[in-house]
């Protein structure tokens, strides 16, 4: 690979340079600053915020997965909640207490159950994919919606695995080489540990996805999304790449599902419903379709949104903090999801990422308008 010329930041002398992960000086600085901020924040923020951010990071892994299939490959999936559920139960079953009420094998080694959860969910994705390769657009959206209902039914009925509705079961135990992430330690609290763990995992998953997106596979996905027939004519195997997109997306969803409930520690089979799928769709759309950084922004935005609305009763007296009031925070939260989805799609289809691009371009040219 040829060297970059000093003092010529815009000059690329090879394709590799242009497609590099951090191809501009600005990106290198910004990413370094963000990483530093993220690593420093466990020691700056309170524990409850850290826990929320940890959930946000896991949601970001799931959102990246959905973005791979829906954003990059253009295959609309409303079935993300199902794959999250498959992952969550695989991980919980593998790491669960063998003596307990529900199925458990007692292997608490984190990388093992994480990979297993991803692989099982990925296999489930492959099973659904034959339908996806035959269908396009809205037909596919409806089929994946049906998948959520079927999954919910199975999770509710299979109570020896899931504990049954209203009871639930404990989530997977995050442990590595005897080190527990979900208990307070001598040096770090539980929230700090989980935050750092999820952050490291998010970075790994995000870099993997970004590399995938800028490789031949990512370009094939984009070709399938933009015009599937044209893609097939120029030699992109439709079946192969649709299968791959579904399997990868489900793998990410499975891993996210496995991790999602380790923070709260407990989950109910009723969680994997249509609303969860819609939340992930909202993350992808609000964050920015077919961008990895957008998925992360969207996931953090949606996860932190309830926290912001919880502050409303203090500011606006009409809003009640209890679920019994005429206007309560839970209603406002749900309405906000809806309004944000509509608003972003109409006004800024590229999502938060698009807003960032506009801000950046404004300051690039500042003080000139263009």
């Amino acid at each position: 690979m040829k060297r970059r010329l000093a003092g010529r930041p815009e000059l690329y002398t090879s394709y590799e340079q242009e497609m590099a992960l951090l191809n501009t000086h600005g990106k290198r600085v910004a990413v370094a600053a963000l990483l530093a901020l993220a690593v420093a924040s466990p020691f700056l923020l309170t524990d409850d915020l850290l826990q929320l951010l940890a959930v946000g990071f896991v949601a970001a892994i799931g959102a990246i997965g959905l973005n791979l299939v829906t954003g990059y490959a253009g295959q609309v999936s409303l079935g993300h909640a199902f794959f999250l559920g498959v992952g969550a139960y695989t991980a919980a079953a593998i790491s669960g207490d063998p003596e307990g009420q529900v199925i458990g094998y007692g292997i608490t080694f984190l990388p093992f159950w994480l990979l297993a959860a991803g692989l099982v969910a990925g296999l489930a994705g492959l099973l659904v994919a034959p339908l996806a390769t035959r269908l396009r657009g809205l037909y596919l959206a409806i089929v994946t919606l049906g998948l959520v209902f079927l999954g919910e039914h199975i999770f509710k009925e299979w109570s020896s695995l899931t504990g049954g509705p209203g009871v639930g079961r404990e989530a997977a135990v995050p442990e590595m080489f005897g080190y527990r992430f979900d208990v307070d330690g001598a040096f770090l609290t539980r929230a700090q540990k989980l935050y750092l763990l999820m952050f490291v995992l998010l970075v790994i998953f995000a870099v993997l996805a970004r590399n995938l997106a800028r490789s031949a596979v990512g370009r094939a996905f984009a070709a399938v999304r933009d015009r599937d027939i044209a893609a097939e004519v120029i030699g992109v195997g439709l079946t192969r790449y649709k299968l791959l997109a579904f399997a990868l997306s489900s793998f990410y969803a499975g891993c996210a599902g496995a991790l999602l409930y380790t923070v709260t520690g407990f989950f109910d089979p009723g969680s994997f419903n249509l609303l969860l799928s819609v939340q992930f769709i909202a993350m992808v759309l609000i964050g920015g379709v077919s961008t990895i950084s957008g998925s992360i922004m969207g996931a953090l935005f949606i996860t932190l949104l309830p926290r912001v609305t919880r502050e409303l009763p203090a500011l606006v007296p009409v809003v009640s903090a209890q679920s019994t009031g005429a206007i309560n925070v839970f209603q406002i939260e749900a309405i906000l999801y809806g309004l944000l989805i509509i608003g972003f799609l109409i006004v800024e289809p590229r999502g938060l990422f698009g807003i960032w691009i506009r801000v950046r371009n404004y300051w690039k040219a500042w003080p000139f308008s263009y």
Binding site: P130, L145, F149, H153, Y337, I342
Partner: protein, 295 residues
């Protein structure tokens, strides 16, 4: 035998409600090429409106007024949330309707409250018997109403100018526009019709058990019905709705005895299983038009 007949009647009754909902989906799809995920909210709105209006007036009048109000709501949704999106990818528009659905349902849930609201229909759970088989009056009312509405729609699409305009728009929007048809009016009208149908369907869903915050899920069963019939086929929607209704009812009656391992309440998800099987065999449903695309 008696059990089978009863199950069939129940299936045809609920099936005709699904058919009404499915018609709404199909009418919107045909004119705008979008699947409206806002239909559950419109159905719920209709049912709740009836439950309030019936306190003031005659039940039948209440249904008509509610249907008109929900049609108006459909118009408003089309004008505010969907008209700006004409020409955008269908997936994006579908997701917008999903957002609309969430917003409306939250507002309506505020009017439902925690308990179950009664529709105040004249049929309740009364039965009469045909040849020894007890039949609930409300199922007969459902089938008859649906038959009347489907006939009216058939006449509307075949013998009125605006019906013809709607069919022309469904066939080719640009050519319709070039012939002087106001495509915007057609979009608005199809949302209004779908809203009114959803309101009537919602009323029937509310007969018997009443309306609560979970009722909206029922409207999604119309999705397997339209997939079964084919997204762009109006007869397909009616047949699909009836088939799904009967299948669900039969599964509900016999599954406990013959295949208990599928779990309780399997009837609720049975329509989705039927849908998956049909799609594996016929990707465009029974009566849908296969997509033909040029490069």
């Amino acid at each position: 035998m008696n059990e089978l007949l009863q199950s069939l009647v129940r299936g045809l009754g609920t099936g005709s409600v699904y058919a009404l909902l499915a018609l709404g989906f199909v009418i919107i799809y045909k004119s705008t090429r979008v699947i409206s995920f806002a239909q559950p909210a419109l159905m719920l709105t209709g049912a709740v409106l009836v439950s309030y209006l019936v306190l003031e007036m005659n039940f039948y009048l209440a249904v008509v007024v509610a249907a008109m109000l929900v049609a108006l709501l459909g118009l408003v949704i089309e004008r505010t949330a969907l008209r700006p999106m004409v020409g955008k990818p269908v997936f994006v528009v579908a997701i917008i309707t999903l957002g609309v659905d969430i917003v409306i349902r939250v507002v309506i849930n505020g009017f439902i409250g925690r308990e179950v609201r009664q529709i105040g229909d004249p049929w309740r759970l009364d039965t009469f018997s045909i040849g020894g088989v007890p039949v609930q009056e409300r199922y007969v009312a459902m089938v008859v109403t649906t038959a009347v509405i489907v006939t009216a729609l058939f006449l509307f699409f075949n013998y009125t100018r605006i019906g013809l305009a709607m069919r022309a728009t469904a066939f080719d929007q640009e050519v319709a526009l070039a012939q002087g048809i106001s495509v915007g009016t057609v979009f608005a009208l199809s949302w209004a019709i779908a809203g009114a149908l959803a309101a009537v369907a919602g009323t029937f869903v509310g007969t018997g058990a009443g309306v609560d915050q979970q009722t909206w899920i029922i409207a999604l069963v119309a999705l397997p019905a339209i997939i079964l019939g084919g997204l762009d086929s109006i007869p397909g929607a009616v047949i699909g709705g009836l088939v799904i209704g009967v299948a669900q009812s039969l599964v509900g009656t016999y599954q406990d005895t013959y295949v208990p391992w599928l779990g309780q309440n399997f009837a609720v998800v049975a329509p989705y299983v039927v849908m998956l099987i049909v799609l594996l065999v016929r990707p465009y449903g029974l009566f849908g038009t296969p997509e033909v695309e040029r490069l």
